[in-house]
Symmetry: C2
Subunit: 358 residues, 2 copies
């Protein structure tokens, strides 16, 4: 009989429960099994939670996680039990043409954790990893895994690389005037990313005072409320528009605001997951020569550099985590996110990450 | 009494006539007056001709031209009467923030020739140039201006840089698989541009056998008819889609084809002027991480390099000119373009360009 563990299981909209499921095992020679040290609840987890995106009942949730390698198959080359590893939100084989081009989120054999009934989720005590050599990033041995560090590291699995992707796609460079649309965890990380790339002036449009306070802590110069005056505010603080707009929401309203607020010849980095099939007017883009780049973040490619900055103390996205729950109480975490009480929730499994499980 | 000259004047839809208008003169100290050596009729001239875009009656037409400097104001620094000069389709002041960023078609004080009643057109015997030092490119003294060379040079004013812009915006690089959508003069130049940037395989979708023959002459490997099977053809010849799609039409159908035919993670360069306000689905772009860049071509920035290749014989866009008319018969040129009998028409004024007018 297989061993069992705790995992956050999707039952139905607004119904996530911790259930006992089989502990994953090495199935293929190239697999690893990782015991989870910490996971995050992501804004995109809410689409399924709210019934907007279909999720199969029984799915183990969670695509943001790190942990300790528990077991490896015979074909795994670079990892050994006991290694502390961080996963990008998307697995990758490392060998396909997309991976070779550095576009790992287009890998045919990879996919987001927790999407697809046979793909493990990180809001659990352990997870099976199909391409560990290509996918996982090894962390330094013996590092101090206090909660703040776990928060920083979980931020590196998805939202921080996504903010960075928005900044790169929008063309942020030294002294750019940057507008971030959206004050969710990705938008806040986009502020950090823009600052890190040398932006001269950073504006953010959002809806939540608490989040906009974090944006200021992260280096935003101007915070604007997402209302009819946001456009006027951008004009006031960024003249003819922002050089780079980092669109971190994905609704039609947010995209329209991005197009209005980018200067002629500027760039929009689009990383907000499109909601309700928004469209763009090509004429509007054309007449002001606006570039529009983005999509799924190739997090695997960005993590090593971002990790290096986290480890040397120059990058700290931990303030995006406003709440923390034990895995047993993960449903509370979803509820706090859904109510927008929490910016982001850290999920800790019910064991100490610095102790190798026996 | 002012002197008069011949010019192509817009009267009404489908009614372009050669009329006598005042010869332009130096009005500001920074002006030059250029006697036209050759001009082109552009696909975009047809929008006004067909009544799709409003054009004011009395407008002198034409944004593609080269000629000989006839007179300069006292503030003109780099040009002297007798200099042979080529104009990008858009004038520019060279000093504004957009010009400093290399985005001259966003220059506030510049604009396209022949758009605006006070802005001269090139389908005339002479033209006033407001910012000649910044705008005009001087050609070598004593160069042989036979018709083929005039064709190459007029191509450099707009359609060849626009094809090049499409290729750069789409991200064409060495060995890229490229799809050009549209077999107009810009699409054909886009084939040349893709080849020039080292594309590995070039496909083109078009509607006209004669134009597709020119595409093959320019280096296209595969020509596809723009019908229901075009997508299947691209799949057959470019596997999972083209790395780079150069969208040179601007209709909803052409844009949709571009999105369908680009590979995941690929780029679309959009230079076709949008017709009938087409829209794009952000979800479609997002789920395949497609980048979308383009707009008005900063031709001034591209012309020196392209000119250098024309002068050394490695670039020859002249085959896009299928017909030639004297200025007196410019209305025939419009008719030939409108009927799609001509790919592109060269307009020669009624004087010899190698002779300085007295």
């Amino acid at each position: 009989m297989s061993q069992e563990m705790n995992a956050a299981v999707f039952k139905a909209a607004h119904d996530v429960r911790v259930e006992r499921v089989p502990v994953p095992t090495v199935r293929e020679a190239g697999d690893a099994v990782v015991r989870i040290a910490a996971a995050g609840i992501c804004g995109s987890d809410l689409w399924g939670y709210r019934g907007i995106e279909p999720v199969e009942a029984g799915q183990v949730l969670g695509h943001e996680w790190l942990g300790v390698v528990e077991d490896v198959g015979t074909a795994v080359e670079t990892l050994r039990p006991g290694d502390l590893v961080l996963a990008p939100f998307w697995s990758l084989d490392g060998t396909c043409p997309a991976c070779q081009r550095g576009q790992s989120t287009l890998c045919d054999r990879g996919g987001a954790w927790g999407f697809g009934i046979d793909v493990g989720g990180g809001q659990a005590q352990a997870i099976r990893v199909p391409f560990p050599d290509a996918t996982l990033i090894r962390l330094p041995k013996g590092m101090n895994l206090d909660v703040a560090m776990l928060q920083r590291l979980v931020a590196l699995t998805d939202v921080m690389p996504t903010g960075h992707h928005a900044a790169l796609c929008a063309g942020v460079e030294k002294d750019s005037t940057v507008l971030v649309v959206g004050d969710g965890a990705v938008g806040l990380c986009a502020v950090l990313a823009a600052r890190r790339l040398g932006a001269g002036r950073v504006l953010i449009v959002g809806r939540h005072e608490e989040r906009l306070r974090v944006a200021v802590e992260f280096g935003a110069d101007v915070t604007l409320r997402d209302d009819d005056d946001a456009f006027e505010g951008v004009r006031e603080h960024a003249g003819g528009g922002a050089d780079a707009v980092l669109e971190c929401v994905g609704t039609k309203d947010a995209l329209d605001l991005a197009v209005r607020c980018v200067r002629s010849g500027g760039g929009i980095g689009y990383v907000g997951m499109p909601t309700m099939n928004p469209t763009l007017s090509v004429s509007q883009l054309f007449e002001r020569s606006i570039s529009f780049r983005g999509g799924f973040t190739p997090a695997r490619e960005y993590i090593p550099d971002l990790l290096s900055d986290v480890l040397d103390g120059s990058l700290d996205p931990s303030p995006i985590f406003s709440h923390q729950v034990d895995l047993a109480h993960v449903a509370d975490g979803y509820r706090l996110m859904d109510e927008r009480t929490a910016i982001k929730v850290l999920v800790l499994p019910d064991w100490l990450p610095t102790t190798r499980p026996g």
